[in-house]
Symmetry: C2
Subunit: 390 residues, 2 copies
């Protein structure tokens, strides 16, 4: 069932260990579900309880620790030997008397890792403050290091097979976005558009299936287009209003996101103008992308291109994407914004999404792309424009 | 757009403040997205960046703090005055140089709350270790108290309108489960079953729409039924194999979960026997439920009922549910398990899910129910059995 050869996983482990050595970390606790998947193949919606993958410099392969009932999921979805799959009893779950990280600390002590430098992902979603406190309490002789983003950065450059899965996700998002745009019609309930979007995201290609995405479909409409992260209601779309579709499709958890904006009826001039400026800005920024340029330089090209439009865009215009789990499809590494001096490299993959959100309206048009040896190639082939429907 | 009268939100605030006072907390930082929604109505898939709602004893209504671009979402979805909606600049997002909780600490200091007792949800999903560290650094004169579960416990007893939304979710899950069972056929791709499930979850009722659920549809099949949290692949269902459908539907984020198991072809005797025992156990435990009995007493009835079957069930058999956001639909308060002495009260709502997961097979049948004045009423009307298809 593994989506990659074991050798590819072991390469990832080797890169992770090199980064650990560079930071003086002996034992890494990877709690981000995408990092767990990347290192071991582990795949289940079990991240609502505490779980992790341990990478230790003195052990060739990782160890998975999770809830008892999820141990069989690790057996089914990973390449790990069964003795590297460790399950904690169920009464650690959501219990004020004991914490799963008490169990993890005991395990680390038993493995003679309790006096080592332990890397923890301080700002990963599911590594709560209580996790940290329990580990500090249970490992009084360990030194803790912040390993936020360590594995995420290893993930930044994609392998050919990873690119292949993102290309499959692109085939799914092309179909999904088209269905979404088709469904936005005056009088159609928003929830029915989203139902069709989900249907296509997951089952829309005859040759491969889609997965759940890191964010759900987002569908601001009317005055809601002034903000990006609203979802849907059961109210109908209305003539004279805009709707933003910010969607993705995912293949084996590898994402291809895409945003487009639809207007029912003749759009206000300011919306048409803003959309044209955004498209021109994306065109110019993508044209500028090549290995060796920095994230902030890409953003600067966008900024300069749209200057004449009078639009002001304070927020970042993009971020790295790839394999991910809810609640995000971004990788939390590089951002296309001033101050980010990350140099782009071939097979980095980013989502450029220079959304404009103003007082009571907005527009989103985006492109997910791969950095090539000489430039940038969008994953999807879909008109980069404002869609106007009668 | 608010799903409840403002008065209902203010009642929730009053109950929250009473609980804060009882625990000596002056200022509560609610970071759990369900708690943020419950207290203010806030609703957007923006919990992938740090955000929170502040409830302070010395201020009548809450304050929302979140990312700049999400400020308009707070204006659209909450009852808060616009001066209680505070947005932080975008360069706080996923930046190793500064953290959104630095901004929050500055805000608290500015509001003269920096010397108070500040309650934080230490084990809420999105309250990371880095959040805690930033707050401690920025609020050197505050006292911190663990407020994990404080608002969750206020949520435990549902209002008539909340019950109404869960009843609508029940109408959706009845249709969704039927579609799921219909789609499990030899040769049908798993992803196509899930596509139809999503379609029905969201758009399946003519009178109201569905929302995304706290967990995605789970669909272990074949040997995968030995564990609960596997999702789907694009491989076909196979004759002679079982499939578990653990699904929910959600109405305005209020959930009605349901699990059923399907077998294609004559089931092995052990599966048929286990399913019969599980149903008998659920029947007996539901029959025992009434106000005043404890969670552990309900579990004990289940345990005693299935004893003769020889099945062993180590994990909890249920938990409180209601309004929620990914990654969970459980409320992290009471669990139906030994040691939980919570007394059931009218209008508590729980999901009883005594799943059985063994070496290479398993079975799940569940029921979401409301505690009434005299007993228990399941939300959904759906046959409580193993489904066998030719």
């Amino acid at each position: 069932m593994l989506p990659f050869e074991k050798a590819e996983y072991l390469e990832r482990i080797a890169k992770t260990k090199a980064s650990m050595e560079a930071r003086g970390i002996d034992v890494l606790l990877a709690t981000d579900p995408a990092n767990m998947n990347y290192l071991t193949g582990y795949d289940g919606w079990s991240f609502y309880v505490h779980q992790l993958v341990i990478v230790a410099l003195d052990r060739p392969e990782p160890v998975w620790i999770g809830r008892g009932m999820d141990g069989n999921a690790a057996k089914v979805t990973t390449y790990l030997d069964h003795d590297a799959i460790v399950a904690y009893p169920d009464d650690y779950v959501q219990n004020t008397e004991k914490h799963p990280m008490d169990f993890v600390a005991d395990y680390l002590n038993g493995a003679a890792w309790g006096t080592k430098t332990v890397g923890v992902e301080m700002d990963a979603y599911y590594f709560t403050a209580a996790c940290h406190e329990a580990l500090k309490r249970g490992l009084p002789n360990a030194r803790f290091a912040d390993a936020t983003g360590l594995v995420n950065w290893v993930r930044a450059i994609k392998s050919p097979r990873e690119i292949g899965y993102m290309e499959q996700a692109a085939r799914l998002i092309e179909k999904t976005m088209q269905v979404g745009i088709d469904m936005v019609e005056s009088g159609v309930r928003q929830c029915d558009a989203v139902a069709a979007i989900y249907q296509t995201q997951i089952g829309g290609h005859p040759e491969f299936g889609g997965d759940y995405t890191g964010l759900c479909p987002m569908l601001p409409t009317g005055v809601g287009t002034s903000t990006p992260h609203l979802t849907w209601t059961d109210q109908p779309f209305r003539s004279g209003e805009a709707t933003i579709l910010e969607l993705a499709a995912a293949r084996l958890h590898y994402h291809c996101p895409m945003a487009r904006t639809v207007h029912l009826g003749k759009p206000p001039q300011k919306l048409a103008d803003a959309a044209a400026a955004v498209v021109e800005g994306i065109d110019a920024a993508l044209d500028f992308v090549r290995p060796g340029v920095t994230c902030e330089e890409v953003e600067a090209v966008w900024r300069k291109t749209i200057e004449k439009s009078g639009l002001i865009k304070e927020s970042r215009i993009g971020y790295s994407t790839g394999v991910n789990y809810p609640p995000d499809w971004g990788e939390h590494t590089m951002s296309l914004r001033p101050g980010d001096k990350t140099e782009l490299r071939p097979n980095m993959t980013l989502h450029m999404i220079p959304g404009i959100w103003l007082d009571d309206w907005g527009v989103e048009i985006s492109e997910c792309f791969r950095v090539t040896e000489t430039g940038a190639t969008p994953f999807a082939n879909f008109p980069r424009q404002l869609f106007v429907k009668d």
